[in-house]
């Protein structure tokens, strides 16, 4: 297991390197000029110096190497400095955003909590709804509940967030007037009142994202429980007189959860992708909104960094899913 983990980790590093190189080369083809906004009155030699300062004059491989060093060596040092008050990164150049003229990671760190709050809550809510639906759908197969569950899945699959988002805004904000349609990022939770305001503004984005999660996970859960219900150990558990609650809650659930847990781990990065759209609809000022803003402004270092962060999340989720599978199910042996 340990050697397998180490081997997988070793394989993840070249994967990430290649992905970051692909993104970098793609961005390098960009026709946009970051100096386009600079006034014409600025003399050409000053412009050349500014270009130099942005690191644009260098060869492609040197710029990629610089980005790589900044991303994987300097930025972790900044993090360590921040956590422990050391000064490892002093005087070292960080990845600078062309848009903000400041370090990209500073903005990412500002934006990430907003995304994590909304996406994390939505994923949790989605899973918590999906698991009981999946279990009961499988247990009462072909019942009215099962058909309703199938319908929710189909709706979640057929109605993408950019349709459900405006729809729930129309129903709950415009018609009923219950909930705000815009997520106020500057809102601070200080007392009970402001906490309820925070809760209310989170309901709609969480609803939209959770529907997607519920649709997927409940389907997997249903299939896994169905598979598990037909196994010999379930018949044994029933034959020895265990109550149905114990059969379902212990014997079936524990076995059915094994594949579902890996699906949950694998789905995490996809939710971040979906959050890009949901953030746009509800004006959540998160990392997805930052990416869209950077793409529109032609802020290539920010685009590269955030896309790379997404890639790291995907690779880590794959790794996590594989390791969890082996850890939860001792029948699976990695050699």
């Amino acid at each position: 297991m340990l050697s397998y983990t180490i081997r997988r980790l070793a394989l993840a590093i070249p994967t990430l390197l290649v992905i970051s190189l692909i993104i970098f080369l793609l961005l390098d083809l960009a026709p946009g000029d970051p100096m386009a906004q600079v006034p014409l009155t600025v003399p050409p030699e000053v412009k050349a110096q500014m270009r130099e300062a942005l690191g644009l004059g260098e060869q492609v491989h040197i710029r990629y190497w610089k980005w790589l060093v900044q991303m994987t060596w300097v930025e972790p040092q900044v993090l360590i400095d921040h956590l422990f008050g050391t000064s490892l990164s002093e005087g070292k150049l960080r990845i600078l955003s062309w848009q903000h003229r400041g370090p990209v990671m500073d903005v990412v760190v500002q934006r990430l909590p907003q995304t994590l709050w909304v996406v994390g809550t939505a994923y949790l809510v989605g899973i918590l709804i999906a698991l009981p639906i999946g279990i009961w759908s499988a247990y009462r197969r072909a019942s009215l509940f099962d058909q309703a569950g199938t319908f929710v899945t189909v709706v979640g699959y057929a109605m993408p967030p950019f349709f459900t988002g405006p729809l729930v805004i129309f129903i709950f904000s415009v018609q009923l007037g219950w909930l705000p349609s815009i997520y106020d990022t500057t809102h601070r939770v200080t007392d009970w009142n402001s906490f309820t305001v925070q809760l209310r503004q989170m309901v709609l984005p969480v609803m939209v994202l959770a529907l997607q999660t519920t649709a997927q996970i409940s389907r997997y859960m249903r299939a896994a429980v169905l598979d598990s219900l037909g196994q010999d150990y379930v018949r044994t558990a029933r034959a020895k007189g265990l109550p149905e609650a114990a059969v379902l809650g212990v014997h079936v659930l524990r076995n059915a959860l094994i594949p579902v847990v890996t699906v949950i781990a694998l789905g995490l990065p996809a939710v971040f992708g979906g959050a890009i759209i949901t953030e746009q609809i509800f004006s959540v000022n998160g990392i997805g909104a930052q990416l869209i803003g950077a793409i529109r402004a032609g802020d290539l270092p920010t685009v590269h960094t955030i896309t790379f962060i997404f890639a790291v999340l995907i690779v880590l989720a794959n790794l996590l899913a594989d390791l969890l599978y082996g850890w939860l199910d001792p029948r699976i042996r990695y050699e």
């Binding site: 026709p31 993408p160 950019f162 405006p166 746009q280 793409i295 896309t307 997404f310 890639a311």
Partner: protein
């Protein structure tokens, strides 16, 4: 021929597949034949008929420039479905080629599967957005504004969604390669190209068809998402996603403008998904005839 007839019969008997198939055919017919019955052009601006609600002259109302919403939804459907079908065809062709090669030639298997894994690890939505941003102008220069963005969207979606097909085809090819009829054909002196096209491909057709249905749904949703984020088709030739995105500003007053394209996307995805599920059941030989 009887094989095909029996497949059609099984499809027709499958309630999900029948409903999905009929619905999808209806959508295709409405979108391509609809303009014959509904002659209003989608781009005619009628300033006196701005912001009308649903009525007799305009069943779905008009937009802020007086353009007929029904005509625009039909035109948007032509675009969305064309993009979906073309992107699906590219993804399918690429996926089948890579899958068959990986399954057939042992030496190519490792590198091609690493490539598939690599593509699966790419953050696709951000990459698609970046690709659309970067190549929009250069392709518009070659194919014209409309053709350029079409080629770009179709190419970008097709190039980033072949991986599931490749995996399925590879698995099936690996299994088929060792079967007796392939060995017999090989013993009879059939070359690798003949083996692949005459013996392997016809037998992996059913999983390819199923992934075609699912790929079409994904391609339509992806295109709509890109257009919704403002990086797909421009408002002068809008797809369903763009229509939906343009209408969200007027959501409070004219919800039908959001619901019409949204419902069109959902119904298409739904029908294609059911059709794919039905195909999977009907093509599964284990279920008997």
């Amino acid at each position: 021929m009887s094989e095909r007839a029996s497949l059609l019969r099984r499809l027709a008997r499958h309630p999900g597949a029948a409903t999905g198939g009929v619905l999808f055919a209806a959508i295709l017919a409405a979108v391509w034949l609809g303009p014959l019955l509904w002659p209003l052009a989608p781009d005619v601006i009628d300033v006196r008929a701005r912001n009308l609600g649903p009525g007799l002259a305009h069943p779905l109302g008009t937009d802020q420039l007086g353009r007929d919403t029904l005509a625009r939804v039909l035109a948007g459907g032509r675009l969305s479905l064309s993009v979906g079908l073309a992107a699906m065809a590219i993804a399918l062709g690429l996926g089948t080629l890579i899958g068959v090669c990986a399954g057939f030639f042992r030496r190519l298997d490792g590198p091609l599967m690493r490539l598939t894994d690599l593509f699966l690890a790419l953050p696709l939505l951000p990459l698609l957005l970046v690709m659309l941003l970067l190549f929009r102008d250069s392709l518009a220069g070659i194919f014209g504004p409309e053709g350029g963005i079409f080629v770009l969207v179709v190419g970008a979606i097709g190039l980033t969604s072949w991986m599931p097909t490749a995996r399925i085809v590879r698995g099936d090819t690996l299994a088929l390669k060792e079967r007796e009829f392939v060995l017999a054909a090989r013993a009879a002196g059939t070359g690798p190209i003949g083996l692949m096209t005459r013996h392997i491909l016809p037998n992996v057709l059913s999983p390819i068809l199923v992934s075609a249905a699912l790929g079409l749904a994904t391609a339509i949703v992806t295109e709509s998402a890109l257009s919704f984020l403002g990086l797909g088709f421009p408002p002068d030739f809008p797809s369903w996603g763009r229509l939906l995105s343009d209408a969200t500003i007027y959501l409070a007053d004219y919800p039908e403008r959001v619901i019409a394209p949204g419902l069109a996307i959902s119904l298409t995805v739904l029908s294609v998904t059911y059709l794919g599920d039905g195909l999977r059941d009907a093509l599964d030989p284990r279920l008997g005839r």
